[in-house]
Symmetry: C2
Subunit: 325 residues, 2 copies
């Protein structure tokens, strides 16, 4: 996998992200020491902080240095991401997240739900400090995340899941927050409206690439490379783009359809992954991702200094061990 | 129980709350029809809408008619309440809420968590439309709700739970949102700052009364009167003020302590309730509630037209079937 933070090619990214990190740790401090511990659990577990980096990168197309408001914008976006992970892990009954025990596994579902609510509330509170537009945007983003997740739940184990339903679900659960990260950076840096809109669209297109690539990796990479079980989506009944494409192909569709539609054990999962890999579905999915990456480039052309940011989707696709078809 | 909406003595309360109701239903409409159904489930189940009524009542101390912004303030506060109920019911594994099947019982925990997130996000989005101060306040309120709930979880089944820990937990889980309801009404109606602060404090004091009275009713009333199982708090290990007071008394403390500290079956629950009722703990708790009700009156004196609102806590206590000591 390409290092996206390096690919952004921002001169002071380490220092700027260190400021985000400090502000993030302060933001999750509650009056109650136990809530502080739980709310800080995933923050302390680390993470790439890609979304704050997008806030920084968009803001830096307009301003020479990262201001405190830009840092707070990055914090609010990352808190939405973290809060949603707390609730995701409850829903998935996940045991491990980012190499540490998940919050639900360690303290139970009740605490994980409340701590997730707390992080989302802190995100909204910080966003309110950046003005009503950012506050409304963050709240709408959380709403869209929920819609995307609900869409995914509704089509679980459904071998008739359409490409349209898939794209709509990932637009809500992933691309919206990437888009919001770029929009927050642009708004806080007070870019003119056309640039704000272009960067918002760029973020959305990049977010689509990001999720499709993630879904491809779940099929083609080993557990060692991913750092988490591969083929997990199929086991959970989440049929992603490579799977949807493989199901639609005459050569692979029948065998795959016979396997899917229910939870899989490990040998079934490996068989299903092998069918999808051999089908051409992965390459077709990469082709769809490339179209979104092309869109991102086009949006980036509308903003001075956003060329590198616009190329980010292509960098991701280039790092895949498969060719787009 | 006294009818608090009547006790507020607002001339057009029915018409004004009907406007809140319409706006509430529009607010929970999502793009996805399934999410719309789930998010609207508890809205359609009805409810007294006490918190929106507090928003209306505080605003009407300053303005002659309820504006659309006041209505939206009421909607945002009620959405916080509803969203927190969705998550509460997941945590309590509740089967029934407001006479209908709970969301978690009907659609599962995953859907209930997401729909609760969605309602909280809609609350924040609407609050953002009322300005950054209201937006920040709503977000901080959600954070305090979480802190109050976490505080309650931490002291579950702890017979050494202190009165201070109890008061702090109910300040977060109940009084903060009542206080916020009053503050939102005052802010949206653009009252001067001293009146905003007085009404905020009035709401907090009333909220404390409201929760203590609720906790007393759980001990003294029958399931038929409550419309839900009585003694439920003790069964769940939530030791409220009447219980804490009974535990502290030499005459009742020993027997009660021997029963508590673990889940109770129905006969044990009735035995524990009888001990608390006979102990004087209920009357002592009502006495604490009366002190908060007196505070509310004092805060109400600082604002023209807030006298009736200030008396609301006393009206609640007067309706109890016990005397305060």
């Amino acid at each position: 996998m390409v290092n996206l933070l390096e690919a952004l090619n921002l001169p002071h990214i380490d220092e700027d992200l260190a400021r985000v990190e400090g502000a993030l740790r302060r933001a999750v401090t509650a009056e109650d020491p136990f809530l502080t511990e739980v709310a800080g659990h995933l923050v302390h577990a680390g993470g790439k902080r890609l979304r704050p980096a997008l806030v920084l990168a968009t803001a830096l197309t307009a301003v020479p240095h990262v201001t405190d408001d830009v840092v707070q914008g990055g914090v609010s976006v990352e808190l939405v991401h973290l809060g949603s992970l707390y609730h995701d892990d409850v829903m998935d009954e996940a045991e491990v997240r980012r190499g540490v025990q998940s919050v639900n596994a360690r303290w139970g579902n009740l605490v994980a739900i409340l701590a997730g609510d707390f992080l989302l509330a802190r995100a909204s509170e910080i966003a309110a400090g950046l003005g009503t537009e950012v506050a409304a945007l963050l709240a709408a983003t959380i709403g869209r995340l929920c819609e995307g997740q609900i869409g995914e739940l509704q089509t679980a184990y459904n071998v008739e899941r359409t490409e349209e339903a898939y794209l709509q679900a990932i637009a809500g659960k992933t691309a919206m927050l990437m888009s919001t990260a770029c929009r927050v950076g642009a708004l806080v840096a007070q870019l003119p409206r056309p640039e704000v809109e272009a960067l918002t669209s760029l973020g959305r297109s990049f977010g689509m690439v990001f999720q499709i690539v993630d879904d491809i990796l779940d099929i083609v990479e080993t557990e060692e490379v991913l750092g988490k079980p591969s083929g997990h989506d199929m086991v959970e009944g989440v049929y992603t783009l490579p799977v949807i494409r493989a199901l639609a192909l005459a050569t692979s569709g029948g065998d795959l359809r016979a396997l899917l539609g229910r939870p899989l054990d490990a040998p079934e999962r490996e068989k299903a992954r092998a069918i999808v890999r051999a089908s051409g579905g992965v390459e077709a999915a990469a082709g769809v991702a490339r179209r979104f990456a092309d869109e991102a480039v086009a949006h980036g052309r509308g903003v001075d200094g956003a060329e590198t940011l616009g190329e980010l989707g292509h960098r991701l696709i280039d790092s895949l061990p498969v060719e787009a078809s």
